[in-house]
Amino acid sequence: MATTALHPAAPAVRGGLYEWLTTTDHKKIGMLYLVNSLVFFALGGILALVVRLELAQPGMQFIDEAFYNQAFTMHASFMLFLFIIPILAGFGNYAVPLQIGAPDMAFPRINALSFWLLPLGGALMASGFLASGGAAASGWTEYPPLSGPAYHGTGTDLWIMGLVLIGTSSILGAINFLVTIFRMRAPGMTLFRMPILSWTVLVTSVLVLMSTPVLTSALIMLFIDRNYGGHFFDPANGGNAVLYQNVFWFYSHPAVYIMVLPAMGIISEVLPVFSRKPLFGYKAFVFATVGIGALGFSVWAHHMFTTGQVFLPFFALMTFLIAVPTGVKMFNWIATLWRGKLVFSTPLLFAFGFLTMFLIGGLNGAFSAAVPVDFALHDTYWVVAHLHYVLFGGSVFGVFAGIYYWFPKMTGRMLNETLGKLQFVLMFVGFNMTFFPMHQLGLMGMPRRIADYASTAGWTELNTLATIGGFTIGLSMVPFLWNVMVSLRNGRIAGDDPWEGNTLEWATSSPPPPYNFDHLPEIRSERPVFDARHGRTATH
């Protein structure tokens, strides 16, 4: 443009709360995502502790079976749909426009809508606890006929409605990310110079876009069956109960990658910065991410081996194939660390937590991919161990790496390192104490989703251990919350670039101005800030 007509000066300063409620700034929305997700993390965590408390000893001590079912159902629903998926979207929201040198997301108001659908959907879901018959109680998978019209009250309907809203939030967010990444990259920021987190958000958004609407269709069919006399999943009237499982897992398996790819992106930002090396094999990493995303659509029925309704060899083979791009990434990360000048700050510790725990989660997952093994382990505590090693050991450790890494950028202040390390140690020990024994419990035949077990089953000691571990994880949140509260006021001033980062968010002030950048460095590689700091430009 030859003449730049300046818009009227910035609107009158809005009061704190009003500004936060009406903001369309991607950074503020990103932080709203983080806070909202951490609230649901706390709620889901409390429900997990209720479950662990009841399982610590045989016999029903604290709650009845009906509430137990609601507790594990809502624990998983909160953790998956209202904590992990949205908190990763929150990091994406905060970091992606900064990383690609954009002033904001492509559709800032839709971005605000995406966020506000989350507390709304979450409140709908949670309000099931107030309804007669309690909250949804047939597991987060809500398989019919258990979730059908014959069982449960309004709670399941509220769960369905809440999840449709949350899904809509994801879809709108994905559209926003894709348009932002495709259309708003700064000059010089080619796709293959984009930071890995932005790449993982890109692939994740494609997965959300293609799979979440399928979940919506499954939920709507379930809702019609429950409320309008439909027969989609009702075998007595020509319906097909396994159909629900197919449609559900067509979303929910890609959803596993939705829940872990951005966490991989986070640690791929952290590892190079704290080992003072570029990420090893950038392009291989990108292609591995795309490969995981693509393969993710062809493995959904490995959750349904025991139904006898799926073609076992195909789904087992595709599941094993996923280990290939995942293995590529493991080697990318290890080779990045190799001979690096490691700086053992808290983000790196959490990234190590991710690497080691996710490795176990991947290996025990490969066991379950073998059909005969899966027939023995299906619906046992082995599966509970596996999914927590992937989603807690993987994603949640990644999330905390991200929080410690970007907190200085978001607030302008550093988190306390000692408290951070204390949190890491407690969480790492507690996590393994909780979930490692579950492998053994599963092999011993303990089924998941049971409220009680016989004292003669030989499961008591390991269950007690897991409960102690669970409370240790809970305890690890105390130093974290204390750290955040203290550091927000008195933390060391961070400056623009406390970690000597590589990517563009470290080229602006902390916190960044509403429009993000006064000036962008030249972008000639995937590490523009590194290039600027060292006064040279790599030729890529």
Binding site: M1, P187, I224, P514, Y515, H519
Partner: protein
């Protein structure tokens, strides 16, 4: 946002990220294409359910389980699809779905004519064509409502076997999308009357037309599957 984007400079070059038509699709058009992708997957879920249920539907005929479609209780009503419905009193009612289909297809053409018009800066032609599109869309919905009342009168509903469940869910959600599209058309017409679109600025017109074409294509698929695909007789 526009001013922020324009203020973003690298080495003195002004980079206007929102300049229309500078590099292919505008953001709203790309956003709509992605939204349509998600809608395709939503209907894919419903279609998958329909085919899965249809393929495995069995009924007792003379003491034997046989595969058939539609279920025996509706075989008489629907025997002459797609053109007539035979009511329980033996009357044949003209099935309005065929004219409704033709109307919706025609509306896609008028919609595109409207887009072409605004690209020429012909605002009158754009408004006239979009107005006609809106009227045709509403007409389609009215005809579908009439079709529903005939079928309800024959005792068909969401609960009458999986045939009713799938039929009314698929056509109902399509109808809801037509309704949503009609709302978007109405907003476009309203804004068009206020003179907000021109040859240079018409992203929303284009996005709305894409959505309308999508709704039309879904209907062509639904019509082919629900009305033209031959049933299976016992």
């Amino acid at each position: 946002m526009t001013s922020d984007a324009a203020a973003l400079t690298t080495h003195g070059e002004t980079h206007d990220a929102t300049e229309h038509g500078a590099a292919g699709l505008g953001n709203p058009v790309l956003g709509m294409l992605l939204f349509i992708t998600s809608e395709v997957m939503f209907f894919a879920g419903l279609f998958a359910a329909y085919f899965s249920i249809r393929a495995s539907y069995q009924e007792l005929v003379n003491g034997q389980l046989v595969h058939l479609w539609p279920p025996a209780q509706f075989a008489d009503t629907l025997k002459a699809l797609p053109f007539v419905i035979t009511t329980s009193e033996g009357h044949t009612v003209l099935n309005v779905i065929l004219p409704a289909t033709l109307i919706l297809i025609a509306s896609s053409f008028t919609c595109q004519l409207g887009v072409n018009a605004i690209k020429r800066d012909d605002r009158t032609g754009f408004l006239r064509n979009f107005g006609v599109t809106l009227v045709l869309g509403i007409l389609f919905l009215l005809l579908q409502a009439y079709d529903y009342t005939v079928l309800f009168g024959e005792g068909m509903g969401l609960g009458s076997t999986t045939f009713g469940t799938t039929y009314f869910t698929l056509t109902g959600f399509h109808g809801a999308h037509v309704f949503g599209g009609a709302l978007m058309l109405a907003v476009v017409v309203y804004r068009g009357m206020a003179g907000q679109f021109s040859a240079r600025h018409h992203d929303m017109v284009e996005a709305t037309s894409l959505y309308w074409h999508f709704v039309d294509i879904v209907w062509i698929l639904l019509f082919s599957v629900l009305y033209l695909l031959p049933g299976v007789k016992a």
